[in-house]
């Protein structure tokens, strides 16, 4: 059943401008690098430029003599040879996990890995001295191709593991009892003249999260508790993992995530540099600080995506899908990140997307290479899955000669069918794909653009038009703890909240969801203002400091509102219940005779009443309160969701491709998203815009490129091309709402939607523009060069037959195809 929610409250649904902004627009910010306690020492990490080598010697003597240097240390010097960075997600019982040292011990496994650390009075002195550390290596050939690395007999990234395959994880709907057998579906389709089998290989290129604030960490050991400030998404997890990694009791650690300048999953890790700062601060008894440069960040902060997807879809020739077989290779890089192995696994449940697919099999092998490790990046596993299925739907439509939207509609879950249990075993509570699609097509003028497309085809216009579709869903609100347990994840998925009613009627709300740009302070204030009937301005949201907010699981996976927000609602309900008892006592009425509305308890049928602020003051005074309770309204709650939430939406992209130059232009982008009830439309719109930009950037602009030595060749913002304002158009975004039934607010989450949905819409659009010219596939990013080459090859031409200056060095960025630097004929 699907419902459309009516707003019944005063703050929820209002486009409040953000509380956070007053400080940030005035430069009154506190990012980690701006924190420097007196006496702080600075560290610089000596990093290898080789992807795979044994260390033959490290000579620290010149560096140690350098001015201002307090010490130069290797892992052995710090007694940290046995320390290994944590991986919290053993996806299989036999998962192979190498020790990930704080500094390379005897060997290095990716370009950028640290081998020593310099501690000095200033950052400049530390960096000067780091240049003087002489490290000798015996280099070996880097292992870079995940497919070759996964084969038997391949050269090994970690010889002691005996294989480069960390784990192979499988989901089979037949074995799980959630659907039919894919193997049978393929066999049947192959022998049935009324069926079709479509096989495709897609590449999910490697991306760099590229948050704007470089990572930074300050550790102050001068108090009874060691204080760690870090530019992290996960202060609570960092505290626990510091204990797990270094053995320092959790009660002796305080972690603060102050203002954090973006994360997108990229700040979900626990870092060797954070552990180095703790070890060095303990050793030297002084505050220690590390702030990375941008190129350090690009080289060593975890990357995202990087999969090879082999997909097989089977269908009746009438368009009914009968099965989907998914084979993934996922490049882990050289080590396992905190949740890296689980990222591709999250996609297992999303490949069937919004479609009624009777049989699903998902097999994923996680593979080691000599590259930077991969882990969560906005969407984490779900963008990859959505790309795979939405590209396949277009491919199937092409093979069957059907309109791609019509084919989708034929197979998607209709709005009457909710709640719907999918072949992956998830129960989608609500949604209305027809409504979102109808609205998006209307805003987009789908029919009109199809006519224009035909006209341009007919006239042979050098600029062809393509229409890209993505009708996506995602699983949000990570996560029901029991589900995480069944996936062998090393933590739960609950979130905690506390509410303190102050004597003066002001309200402090403590959340374990630690924001880094999402606007929690504003949205959570709106929720609490409605729940308690207090002014929005009277609510203060406290977060990101384990001494203030001792319990939490932090911010990722579109969970803050869907899980953290519900914990806040539950805590508020407890506050109201306590206040009601005291109000009844003071008003000399029965609790049953009291009503609570707009912040006031009223005796039904009278004008007798007390505001919640009055109750708060009376409770503080404690002169007169019921004997069977404590004089406190303060309340805690921990919310563990029973189900994920399932936002969905229809995204449409009008892509223009100049067939003479290969230039791709995003002319128009329309999306209609159902994210359930909306707390703050302004914030939602901002999340969608930013998400779209990142998803579109994957399709059009970004890729982390390694050369054959295993060096990341675009490790700066000069050549890792995150989009600027001039690269993007304005988007038309709308939301509609079918309220989630899995939580009290009816919310579904929005942080990742735009990124998950948009990538396949763009690529489907590019191919739709030039498919009639014979182009069937272009790897991402679909740069002008790649599109132009694909067009030449489709024409039977030679992409080398071009004016020489087009490809000559110095012809500008993008003139050299990184996957084909020598310009070989494809």
């Amino acid at each position: 059943m699907t419902t459309t929610a009516e707003p019944t409250t005063t703050e929820i649904g209002k486009s409040r401008v953000r509380k956070e902004d007053a400080r940030l627009i005035a430069g009154r910010s506190r990012y980690t690098d701006s924190i420097t306690p007196p006496g702080t020492l600075h560290i610089a990490v000596v990093r290898t430029t080789l992807a795979r080598a044994t260390i033959t010697s490290i000579d620290k003597s010149e560096a140690e003599k350098s001015p201002g240097v307090h010490g130069v240390y290797t892992a052995a010097d710090l007694g940290a040879e046995a320390v290994g960075m944590p991986c919290a997600w053993p996806v299989t019982p036999d998962q192979k996990a190498p020790q990930r040292p704080v500094l390379g011990i005897g060997r290095v496994s990716f370009s950028g890995e640290g081998v020593a650390v310099v501690v000095a009075r200033s950052m400049a002195e530390a960096k000067d001295a780091a240049e003087l550390v002489e490290v000798d290596y015996d280099p070996q050939d880097a292992i870079l191709d995940m497919e070759a690395a996964s084969k038997d007999g391949a050269d090994l990234v970690h010889p002691d593991l005996g294989t480069n395959v960390s784990a192979t994880w499988q989901f089979d709907s037949k074995a799980m009892g959630t659907g039919d057998s894919v193997d049978d579906a393929i066999k049947e389709a192959e022998s049935d003249p009324d069926s079709i089998v479509v096989r495709r290989r897609f590449r999910q290129q490697r991306l760099i999260p590229a948050f704007m604030e470089p990572r930074s960490c300050v550790v102050d050991p001068t108090g009874e508790q060691i204080t760690i400030w870090s530019a992290t998404q996960v202060p609570h997890i960092l505290r626990t993992m510091t204990t797990v990694t270094l053995g320092i009791p959790e009660s002796k650690l305080r972690v603060i995530a102050p203002d954090v300048g973006g994360g997108f999953g990229g700040k979900i890790g626990v870092l060797p540099e954070e552990m180095l700062c703790v070890l060095l601060a303990q050793k030297l008894g002084k505050p220690v600080k590390w702030t990375e440069t941008r190129s350090e960040s690009m080289l060593t902060a975890h990357h995202g995506r990087d999969q090879i997807q082999d997909l097989t879809i089977t269908a009746k020739k009438d368009g009914t899908i009968t099965g989907l077989d998914v084979h993934l290779l996922a490049d882990m890089g050289s080590y396992l990140g905190l949740v890296g192995p689980g990222v591709p696994i999250l996609g297992a449940f999303m490949f069937n997307a919004i479609y009624k697919i009777p049989a699903l099999k998902f097999t994923c092998s996680n593979v080691f290479t000599n590259k930077t490790l991969t882990d969560a990046y906005r969407g984490a596993g779900r963008p990859e899955a959505t790309f795979g299925i939405e590209r396949m739907m277009d491919e199937l439509a092409v093979e069957l000669g059907r309109d791609p939207m019509e084919l989708r509609e034929q197979n998607w879950i209709s709005h009457e069918e909710f709640p719907f249990t999918t072949v992956a075993g998830l129960t989608y509570d609500t949604g209305n794909y027809e409504q979102a699609t109808a609205r998006a097509m209307e805003l987009f003028d789908y029919a009109g653009l199809r006519r224009e497309q035909e006209e341009r085809k007919r006239s042979g216009d050098p600029v062809q038009l393509g229409i890209g579709i993505s009708t996506f869903t995602e699983m949000c609100g990570l996560a029901p703890s029991r589900v995480l347990g069944s996936l062998d994840y090393g933590a739960g998925g609950w979130e905690a909240a506390s509410i303190r009613m102050l004597a003066t009627g002001k309200v402090e709300v403590i959340t374990g969801a630690s924001a880094h740009g999402q606007g929690h302070e504003t949205a959570f204030s709106q929720i609490v203002a409605d729940q308690l009937g207090v002014p929005f301005e009277d609510v203060e949201i406290l977060h990101g400091d384990t001494q203030v907010s001792p319990k939490g699981l932090d911010t990722y996976g579109s969970r803050s509102l869907v899980v953290g927000g519900i914990a806040i609602v539950n805590a508020a309900e407890k506050v109201v219940a306590k206040a009601k008892k005291i109000a009844a006592h003071l008003l000399e009425a029965s609790e049953d005779d009291l009503e609570f509305a707009n912040g006031t308890f009223t005796v039904k049928g009278t004008d007798k009443g007390k505001a919640i602020q009055e109750i708060a003051f009376a409770t503080f005074m404690a002169h007169d309160y019921p004997e069977d309770m404590e004089p406190s309204l303060d309340s805690d709650a921990v919310f563990d969701p029973e189900n994920f939430s399932y936002p969905h939406g229809t995204h449409l992209a009008a892509m223009e491709v100049d067939t003479d130059t290969g230039r791709v232009t995003l002319r128009n982008y329309v999306c209609v998203d159902d994210i359930g009830n909306v707390i703050n439309p302004l914030i939602v719109e901002g999340q969608v815009h930013g998400g779209l930009a990142q998803g579109i950037a994957q399709a059009l602009f970004e890729e982390a490129n390694y050369d054959e030595q295993g060096t990341l060749v675009n490790a700066t913002f000069v050549d890792y091309t995150i989009p600027s304002a001039a690269d993007l158009p304005s988007f038309t975004t709308e939301s509609m709402s079918t309220a989630a039934t899995s939580n009290k607010l009816g919310v579904k989450g929005v942080g990742e939607a735009g990124t998950i949905a948009s990538t396949p819409a763009i690529v489907n659009g590019v191919l739709d523009a030039i498919r009639h010219l014979g182009v069937t596939e272009i790897e991402m990013p679909t740069t002008s060069q790649r599109v132009w080459r694909a067009l030449q090859v489709a024409k039977g031409g030679n992409p080398m037959e071009t004016p020489s200056d087009t490809h000559s060095p110095g012809a500008g960025l993008g003139s050299i195809d990184p996957n084909n630097p020598k310009g070989e004929v494809l």
């Binding site: 401008v17 953000r18 956070e20 902004d21 007053a22 400080r23 940030l24 627009i25 005035a26 430069g27 009154r28 910010s29 506190r30 990012y31 690098d33 701006s34 420097t36 400049a124 590229a210 948050f211 704007m212 604030e213 470089p214 203002d259 954090v260 300048g261 973006g262 997108f264 440069t293 941008r294 190129s295 880094h516 740009g517 999402q518 606007g519 302004l682 914030i683 719109e685 901002g686 815009h689 930013g690 998400g691 779209l692 930009a693 990142q694 700066t716 913002f717 000069v718 995150i722 989009p723 600027s724 304002a725 001039a726 993007l728 304005s730 988007f731 735009g754």
Partner: protein, 169 residues
């Protein structure tokens, strides 16, 4: 060490600095002007944008000594008499920021842009702030912020303090 005399946000300073010290580092580390942020090593991101003698510069690509005798305005000195600059106001009203890290530089660049072009089209805004990167907003609300500020800064616009625009002089 070299002496540098500079006025920053209305205060005069005289300091001995290493010749290699960047203006961004001087502002943050010597003067405590931590409102100005650093996001890259290659002058691409623009997070460190300030005004030097009325024009926007990326303070990571200016040496502190090059600012000798000059006047610097940072994000912390943009408000006048407790009144936010119209561009600052517009960023808040139009949700032109999320994590806030690009914001100081973005605002300083936008103020300079509006000094040169008080009524930019969407395209002109997008081109004009191309040197400042943002990873959160997708730029749409930043563009809206700059255009909204432009409207509010026009002569005769309601209830505005005197706009402080760089450039054009």
């Amino acid at each position: 060490m070299t002496q540098v005399r500079v006025t920053v946000d209305g205060v005069n300073y005289a300091d001995e600095v290493e010749p290699r010290l960047l203006l961004a580092q001087y502002l943050r580390e010597t003067l405590g002007k931590t409102g100005t942020l650093i996001g890259c090593d290659t002058s691409n991101c623009g997070a460190c944008t300030v005004h030097l003698n009325g024009r926007s510069v990326k303070s990571c690509s200016v040496l502190a000594v090059q600012a000798d005798g000059g006047e610097v305005t940072t994000i912390e000195g943009l408000a006048r008499d407790g009144q936010l600059h119209p561009v600052q106001e517009a960023f808040r009203e139009c949700h032109g920021l999320q994590c806030g890290y690009c914001t100081p530089g973005m605002i300083m660049a936008a103020v300079d842009l509006l000094g040169d072009n008080p009524d930019p089209t969407e395209h002109e805004v997008r081109e004009g702030i191309e040197g400042n990167l943002c990873r959160c907003t997708g730029y749409q609300n930043i563009v809206r912020s700059v255009q909204s500020a432009a409207k509010n800064m026009k002569p005769g616009a309601v209830a505005q303090n005197a706009p402080v625009a760089g450039g054009g002089n």
